[in-house]
């Protein structure tokens, strides 16, 4: 009985009805970056196993990862990594019960968005 008309009932308010705000966007991006980095992890582990295998196979793997598309993927991975790191830092601060008010949360959200771009630019320059 409970399953009658499942899927055709009115839903409670969902993400489509809310105004976008920095808090929700950064939260969603933390999830996306964290899970997308599995692809980066696969590439890095593949590169390491190639280095452990032979010089010629390493040249092949290294050539793909440092190709134009490879550079784009690795730079986006770096951006995602810094963003997720800042997001994790925000969670660690929140977990202590601090900075939970809207203003500070929004400020930290903007800090993550701009901070990750700045950190990525700095890393690319240094490396």
């Amino acid at each position: 009985m409970a399953d009658v008309n499942r899927g055709n009932r009115p839903l409670s308010p969902h993400i489509t009805v809310w105004r976008w705000q920095v808090n929700s966007i950064t939260s969603i991006l933390v999830r996306i970056t964290g899970n997308a980095m599995f692809i980066s992890a696969i590439l890095i582990v593949w590169w390491l196993t190639a280095a452990a295998t032979s010089e010629s196979y390493f040249a092949f793997a290294d050539g793909i990862i440092t190709s134009f598309i490879g550079d784009v993927v690795m730079t986006l991975s770096l951006l995602g990594l810094w963003f997720h790191t800042l997001g994790g830092l925000r969670h660690l601060i929140w977990d202590t019960g601090r900075a939970l008010d809207m203003e500070t949360s929004d400020l930290m959200g903007w800090g993550m968005l701009f901070g990750s771009v700045v950190l990525t630019a700095l890393t690319v320059i240094i490396i």
Binding site: F38, I44, V45, T49, A51, A52, G88, L92
Partner: protein
Amino acid sequence: MAFMTDRKRVTGLGASHTGTGAFWTMTVTSVALLILTPLFVFIFGPLLGEPHAEVIATLSRPFPAIVTGLMIVVGLYHFRLGVRVMIEDYAHGFAREAWIIVMTIASYALMAAGLFAVAKIAL
């Protein structure tokens, strides 16, 4: 006979019966990754595009090898717990169980492959 009261057996475990273990592990691995991430970025990054001999020489030194190994283990352990939360949010029924099993295996497999590579290079 177990000298444990029923109360003792359930205290702190909550509705999930598993307690706050996953949350606490995420907290610990987050702090560890806060330290490991910058170290790893500036060890691994400069090695991209370097000659094979250079890569082997760097990863043969203790510090870069240990940081890389730790980044692989802690990072993928953190990922395993994180991806599980995402699966539990979006997948239901059989798909949920199947995805959790697949991603857990994939996480540990990648961890093993990465560790093997670092060990083979370093030792």
